[in-house]
Amino acid sequence: MPGRDDMALMAHLMRRAGFGASREELEARVAKGYEATVEELLHPETQPEVDVNILYRYFPNLEGPLAPVQAQTNWVYRMINTRSPLQEKMCLFWHQLFATGNSKIDNPPEVLQQIAMFRRHGLGRFPELLVELAKNPAMIYWLDNNGNHKGAINENWGRELLELFSMGVGNYSEDDIKEASRAFTGWTIGQKIPRNPLGRFYWSFEYRPEDHDDGEKVFLGHRGRFNGDDIVNIVVQQPATARFLARHLYNFFVADEVQVPSWNITPPKDPQAIQTLVRAYNESNYDIRAVLRALLLSDFFKNARFARVKSPAELVISTVRLAGNFGPPRPGYQELAFECAYQGQELLNPPSVESWHTGQEWIDGGALVRRVNFAAKLLGDTTLPGIRTIVNQLKDRGNLSPAEFVDQCLDLIGPIQVSEDTRAELQAQAEEGGELRWGTKRQASASEHRVGVMLALIAASRDYQFA
């Protein structure tokens, strides 16, 4: 029987590196061991891929150039069904960092291609990922690199590469931006096929040597006839890059930091943790997998329980997985994608290249109503498979005192931790009904109802907003 602490730690790992896990899955993973589980998560290639043949048989228009705006639905399906949750979490991480919005791209399948690229390269080496990003057609168009020409540079991509995607404000000069932009001239997209009459087609990367400024450049103190890849290679070596990437990973996987624009004036919450990640980055020759390994095995990670506000995608996907009412193709996936949007995170369409504001800023009055109501509606529904399982597991534990009732619910739903005040209220709620009994049909029916209400209250609690 796995110990409580082991279960709690594994639940924490699966919440952060994935979208939560059922009791059964947690027990299996605890048996396998924490380190072994981390290795498995870091190696998605060892797990079966999402079966897209089944998906497309039911939803033939969910991928490919003629996919309508429901490209978000495609991703939601993958997040729910993936056997490599860390890989999908990394897609979310890179989407947050390299924010590219469909509001300008106006081609959802093309933005989804960028996510597919993150799926392929997101756990590999950082320089490779940055070069892929520089060649990604949606990114090129998003940051106007198709307008960046020899003799007439456009600085948008060059600037954001340094400011937002690698080094952070204050670590380079305006001249560096200009030189980087010169190096990326010629990195453009091929002629787009017009949308009418056949729909949206994929774009393609095109390198135009005749438009590339191959003159000598001075970038971050280095001199040479740099092309884009050279810029990337110089950038990834910079201490500022290591620290910036480390802090982003900390913010996404460990604990909420202040908003990114203040990072150049506010030091990290845990400078030693950042150092650990920086060391892993440098010693592994800039390998993201190695940095994540160091992160997930660290004490600062293991101890950071419930230190992050769940993003809408995390809240929606993890709640749905717990409720167990989604899995195979069925109507309603699109509505889940819309729900993320209504809660403030429209997948594939961040508001600007500075991306969503995370942590506490996910929450405002409108978002809170939706988050609470969405989660309570699912977890309070005892007809759903995942909730039925919880009800049956409770039944198996026999008659429970009010304190045990609350305890067991918190255990079976996560296990999750709640504050004393929340627990006191849940306890008061349980005491209203007395002992939880299953002996007679009437008792069982009443108890089932009480379980639904209790789970709904937990879903509605402030604590549930955290992961």
Binding site: N102, S103, K104, D106, D256, V309, F338, A341, Y342, G344, P351, S352, V353, E354, H357, G359, Q360, E361, I363, D364, G365, G366, L368, V369, V372, N373, A376, K377, G380, D381, T382, T383, S419, D421, T422, E425, A428, Q429, H449, G452, V453, A456, L457, A460, S461, R462, Q465
Partner: protein, 378 residues
């Protein structure tokens, strides 16, 4: 008489998808209109004439009635320079007043901030619909978004909790779970505050449909339902000052004729019902409604519909509106068009500025990002 800025209320009805200017306010005697609209042109005998040059779309009867009563202003040729003709980008521009960069702060958010700087009333700005339009987003400014007035509130959809008594008891429990407790940290406190605000707002909004009674029967369409909810909230005197909703899609690339017909039947009827309702309650003096869209549509039709254009039209309706034409109908002459589209001649930020200053009593410059020509419709 309403005190400008204290009691005056603004309703924003966004027409999403780019409403076709030329078929909404129709230059029906202009031969260029006929020439350019061989397929979707409105027949002259169907147009609802305003004068001998312009007329309304045939299904805008209720709107024309308001025009005839002198309560409607038409703002011609509205837009901004260098329209990208992209829905998303253009709507963002209208929402954030930032034509040249990606903005993330909404102009209505700023209005709400300036109307209620200490955020005393979470119902100062209310959106009716799903999610929140960017126009209303401003960090630190609480805004309420209601998808259904009758069922708005926390824990309103839990399948097991249907009985009134249990619902009330659970809400009480919820409220206690969201009591600020000392030493829990700023994020928990923020959550507590936010949760309590929602409960307050929901409690207040609950009485709106309860207090409401009317002989007006609104149509059974989404836009009419939202306008009815807006009327209920307005009439309940809850201090809500900006009420926002939208209807669409007006993006009539194909089959414009039946689509546009239906859109204006629904919107026209809803507007008519709404203003009848206000009249019945003798409450029309404190409210104006503005209608806008992200751009107009191309002058020449494409066979069955029209494509994205530039210059468009906006309306303002209300008892205190000085009805009439404002700004100028852009020329349809080929040499005056921009890429085949009507050239805008009036910046939308002037439109906002007029409303913000003359109806809501606020300084418009920080809200719209500059000084723009205002019109005298208020």
């Amino acid at each position: 008489m309403a005190s400008i800025g204290k009691d005056t209320v603004l309703v924003v009805l966004q027409l999403t998808g780019a409403n076709d200017y030329l078929n909404t306010v129709i230059p029906y005697t202009n031969p260029l209109y006929r020439d350019n609209r061989p397929n979707v042109g409105i027949p002259e005998d169907k147009v609802l004439p305003i004068d001998d040059e312009l007329g309304f779309h045939p299904n805008m009867g209720p709107v024309k009635k308001l025009w005839d009563e002198g309560r409607m202003a038409i703002i011609h040729g509205i837009g901004y320079e260098n329209s990208p003709r992209s829905h998303f980008r253009s709507m963002d521009i209208w929402h954030t007043c930032e034509p040249n960069r990606v903005g993330t702060e909404g102009w209505v958010g700023r209005v709400i901030r300036d109307l209620d700087p200490t955020s005393e009333n979470v119902l100062k700005g209310v959106n009716f619909g799903q999610g929140l339009p960017r126009a209303m987003v401003l960090r630190g400014v609480p805004v309420t978004s209601v998808s259904s007035l009758e069922s708005y509130g926390m824990l309103s959809e839990v399948p097991g909790i249907t009985e009134e008594q249990e619902r009330a008891q659970v809400l009480e429990r919820f409220s206690r779970m969201y009591s600020p407790a000392i030493g829990r940290g700023p994020v928990m406190d923020y959550l507590a505050q936010t949760g309590q605000n929602v409960l307050k707002g929901a409690d207040a909004l609950k009485i709106a449909p309860q207090k409401y009674s009317s002989t007006v029967e609104y149509a059974d369409t989404p836009v009419a339902k939202y306008l009815k909810s807006i009327a209920q909230v307005y009439l309940a005197d809850l201090g809500a000052q900006v009420l926002y909703t939208q209807h669409g899609s007006f993006d009539t690339h194909f089959n414009q004729t039946p689509m546009h017909n239906k859109l204006w039947i629904d919107v026209g009827r809803a507007i008519g019902d709404f203003f009848d309702d206000l009249k019945e309650h003798d409450a029309g003096d404190n409210l104006i409604m503005m209608l806008f869209t992200e751009f107009g549509r191309r002058v020449h039709d494409n066979g069955t519909g029209t494509d994205h254009g530039a210059g468009g039209v906006a309306f303002v309706i209300g008892n205190r509106v000085k009805g009439g034409h404002y700004s100028e109908y852009p020329s349809l002459k080929p040499e005056d068009l921009q890429q085949g589209d009507l050239a805008p001649n009036y910046d939308f930020r002037g439109f906002y500025s007029t409303v913000v200053e003359r109806w809501l009593g606020l300084d418009p410059a920080p809200i719209v990002g500059g000084h723009f020509e205002q019109l005298d419709f208020i």
